[in-house]
Symmetry: C2
Subunit: 588 residues, 2 copies
């Protein structure tokens, strides 16, 4: 029998009609001569009624069915006596004239319902049950709508969907590669791509003009909250376009996605701020724009008042900045503020000074220093009675980090963030390089193929760390949703870039010679960007971990409790690859 529609879609327009439905038993209530069954499928739940009146045989079958049995039912849609306004299908029910049990089910290890209380690993071990839960299916649907919108919009805009290799060459620059041993070339390895970066640039060299791909990327990194060994990127590259034109194209894409997934009309153009402005105003290169509480420069207002910490910081070229917590004076006790002080120490801050604003003026341990400056302080901090002003005095980076993170933490505590808002912002004009404490040298802030600003090209040879880049990040609700840049398309600039990164001519040639050779043959000016699909889906589904929007993710230890991957393999498999493992000891 062919299904009439999804169980979750049976509504008043089917009244009086015969329908065939297929789905799972959500729950069963047995009233003896009357049995009610909630039948669930991908689209929702409908109430079935079994009674001698409709079919004795069906009633008999219904006596033995249990949760998660798979049923095919035939019946008539009728009005429900006690309508349930909380259900999409709450006004109707189906009087079952025929039922077939298509499959039976054991008792599931957790409920098939939202907000369950099961461990992450149990959920992953039974992922096929976890995904039956409506909130999980909804997340998968949102992710699907994003990809559909991407394909549609980019196709309409002349982009070609082109696949690049997953078995490719290892490039030790960057994150750690996953390796794939070759059986044909002993001692040789493919690497899984960290991104299709160079291949998409080669496609621009090939004249493809507009490329995109929804591409899997792989990084063998230590795992944190929202990292996965494999993740997915909406990857785009365009020839002959400026950074602004690429941003405009991307905005069209975001508009389409927001509309298709959530029915939201995204206003464009999306605001653009420079990296400097983002750091100054929000203490972050991925500012959450859903609320204010911006960082205020307090130097002028506090200097010379005799508070030594501030004065000496300013004398040594440092900064004194503050955020003003609206209504924070009452809400934050001294103990509470001490906790915040602890919190910001991880960013290198030595202390957190504070003032409360009362109707009688400023209070707090350092208030006595600022009797004369009250007006300037209130003006600079944009504070009013009832507010709390939190100060950090240190070098530029520490001030930004400490107040930037504090701003977000307090906004969450104070419930200042409208969870229904989606605030995008472009952060542009990044530094080309950043200093890496780990490598003790400058590294590429984006990647080594990013084009410096035209006016900074000469600096590349002399003062590389002063260069700014033609790069841009798109930020959503405080998350880096994606980023991109105009790329280098000429060999001499690429060579200068590698030199600035500390490569010798020989080491650059050995590692990237094949790519620089390509630049000899007429590459067009080009640029692009990549959006993190997992993160995008996570934000639109209002989840707090990308695992919730990936069908079969790895757990926090990069393993997969369902299939038990990774696993030991047969000795023959290793022999064929000319490999020997020398594990210190089996951990699993």
């Amino acid at each position: 029998m062919k299904r009439t529609t999804y169980a979750g879609l049976v509504d008043e327009k089917y009244l009086g009609k015969e329908v065939v439905l297929k789905g799972w038993v959500q729950k069963r209530r047995d009233l003896g001569n009357l049995i009610f069954v909630d039948l669930r499928d991908r689209e929702g739940i409908v109430q079935l009624v079994f009674s001698q009146e409709f079919s004795e045989e069906a009633l008999k079958t219904a006596e033995n069915i249990r949760s998660e049995y798979v049923l095919e039912v035939e019946g008539k849609v009728v009005e429900r006596a006690n309508a349930n306004p909380n259900m999409k299908t709450g006004k109707i029910e189906v009087e079952v004239s025929k039922v077939t049990v298509l499959n039976e089910a054991k008792t599931t290890p957790f409920d098939i319902s939202d907000n369950i209380n099961a461990s992450d690993d149990l959920r992953l071990q039974y992922r096929y049950l976890d995904l039956r839960r409506p909130e999980m299916l909804k997340a998968l649907k949102i992710r699907n709508r994003i990809t559909q919108a991407v394909h549609r919009y980019l196709d309409e805009n002349n982009f070609l969907d082109i696949e690049t290799p997953y078995l490719t060459r290892s490039t030790p620059e960057g994150a750690r590669d996953y390796l794939v041993p070759s059986r044909v070339y002993p001692g040789h390895f493919y690497a899984l791509p960290q991104s299709p970066q160079l291949f998409k640039q080669l496609l621009m060299g090939a004249g493809v003009d507009r490329y995109y791909q929804i591409a899997r990327c792989f990084r063998d990194e230590d795992l944190r909250g929202d990292r996965q060994p494999e993740f997915t990127q909406i990857d785009m590259e365009m020839s002959f376009m400026t950074a602004e034109e690429i941003q405009t194209m991307t905005e069209g894409l975001l508009k389409e996605v927001m509309k298709d997934t959530l029915g939201i009309e995204l206003k464009t153009p999306i605001p653009r701020i420079t990296w400097d402005e983002a750091m100054n105003r929000f203490g972050s290169d991925k500012p959450d724009m859903r609320f204010g509480m911006e960082l205020k420069d307090m130097a002028q207002a506090v200097s010379g008042a005799g508070f030594k910490v501030f004065d000496s910081t300013l004398e040594n070229g440092g900064q004194v900045k503050a955020i003003t917590v609206p209504g924070g004076a009452d809400k934050y006790s001294r103990k509470h503020i001490d906790e915040k002080q602890e919190y910001i120490k991880r960013f290198g801050a030595k202390g957190l000074a504070w003032l409360k604003v009362t109707d009688e003026g400023l209070t707090g341990p350092i208030a006595k220093f600022f009797k004369e400056n009250e007006e300037q302080i209130l003006a600079a901090a944009e504070a009013k009675p009832g507010d709390l002003i939190l100060f950090v005095a240190d070098n530029k980076k520490v001030v930004a980090d400490a107040l930037g993170y504090l701003r977000v933490a307090i906004a969450k505590e104070m419930d200042l963030i409208d969870q229904d808002k989606f605030e995008f912002v472009w952060v542009v004009d990044w530094p080309l390089f950043e200093y890496s404490e780990e490598f003790e040298r400058y590294i590429a802030a984006h990647h080594p193929f990013t084009m410096p600003n035209e006016e900074d090209l000469d600096l590349l040879a002399t003062d590389p760390h002063k260069c700014h880049a033609q790069s841009y990040d798109i930020v959503l609700n405080g998350y880096e949703l994606g980023g991109g840049s105009i790329r280098i398309h000429q060999r001499r600039v690429q060579e200068a870039m590698f030199k600035a990164l500390g490569f010798t001519k020989e080491s650059a040639q050995a590692q990237f010679g094949w790519f620089m050779d390509a630049l000899d043959f007429g590459f067009p000016p080009h640029g692009g960007l990549a959006l993190g699909l997992d993160r995008f889906a996570m934000l639109l589904a209002k989840k707090d971990n990308i695992r919730e929007v990936i069908a079969f993710p790895k757990n926090s230890k990069a393993s997969e409790p369902l299939t038990h991957a990774p696993s030991p393999v047969a000795p023959k498999q290793l022999d064929e690859l000319y490999l020997k493992t020398e594990a210190p000891e089996d951990k699993d």
Copy 2:
């Protein structure tokens, strides 16, 4: 300056207008005071004219440009004096008022034009140049149109695009896995998936109902003509549908693809023939339906005529079958037929008997045996004067293989195949198992998750090799385009299947226990199929190797001459993975 349109799209409607174009120099003709340049981009070529009359500066620049330089030009579209009817843009030309050289280019190692004479490895080494050639860009565009049609059609039909893992568990059953060593679990390995088979079945268990994915698959096999280490599958799975319903859904998809890529109206339903019929009529499970020349059973017509080879074959339960080559009597000399006899020996055939049909009757070395049977033979073979009848007498399999391949080889030689035709056919009702000479046991003809026909379920325990399966292949022009089946959704059937395949209870549990456990929890009836995207694109682009429709393929030795993958890696990378290579000797 923003590009007005693609160079290849400038036509009469731009006459008299100023345009900005960006592209590559295809060729330059210098007539002194007049320089013509063919400017090429993704969409084609347009003729530029440089002259003192339009711009002295532009003319000067044009004197120094060479092939494959990248130009931005501004100019006026005018009618061309000598229209070129072979060019889309042949009626117009652009009088250049301004030109900027965006990049220079060295001389390319081969021409940027169709039908070049360069080795495969040279083309792959300079793939970014190879892809500039119009026929290659066209192939990429056809592939893109296929994927766009797939996304659109399946989205319209309620399928969800869901990604499954690329880092997963090794399953030694099937082809050889590519392995990925784990850094977190020494001695443990992920495997790259040979297909998303079990994950898509799990998604049906999760209630996704309709799944699809354009999925990369990996097989570390010895390479043949059109095999690649990684290839792409249009992968689909549906719940609660019959094999016929799945086929109908697929036909809708094929219709959409044929229309979107080539503008062809595919007639549906696509013919369905059983596997038995395909083997009997065409000697192949992937029959090329673009021409006739079917295999004819000659047993009745030839038996008892005294030709020993035929008689003894038939007495021993073998077959005598023939194909009739229309007009082959004159075209095929004895020497030529001897070559064909050599050819079919690889399929186990011991000989090739033949008769030519003349106006005077049958001729040839064995004609003397069949003086009495001429009429029956002509009727059975559907032969007429001028035809050649080719006989093979052997067991069923050898007859099918030998005549099946011979049929195709001769059709190609005789030019009987209409290269503009696209003939699809479903081959259904396959045997569930096939005997593997390699493993000396029965193996799954499709895979171990294929559902036997309902009426054969009991045979699974008693005579498994007699079972037929609810499986189906879709064949296009003699190529297996894809295949699928209804899957097993109940644990007891899956257990019986593994048993029939020679698994013990323990070995089945060890390897597939995690999957069989899932079947305990109410899996719906489901099935699906997968189409080979590379092969589909190859056929629609009329290429003879899938390398021609893959942007960056591996060569025939599974290596990639552009980036030199696979490559040796740093010792540190192996140490981190607790691996040692014990290569007998470096091959590269």
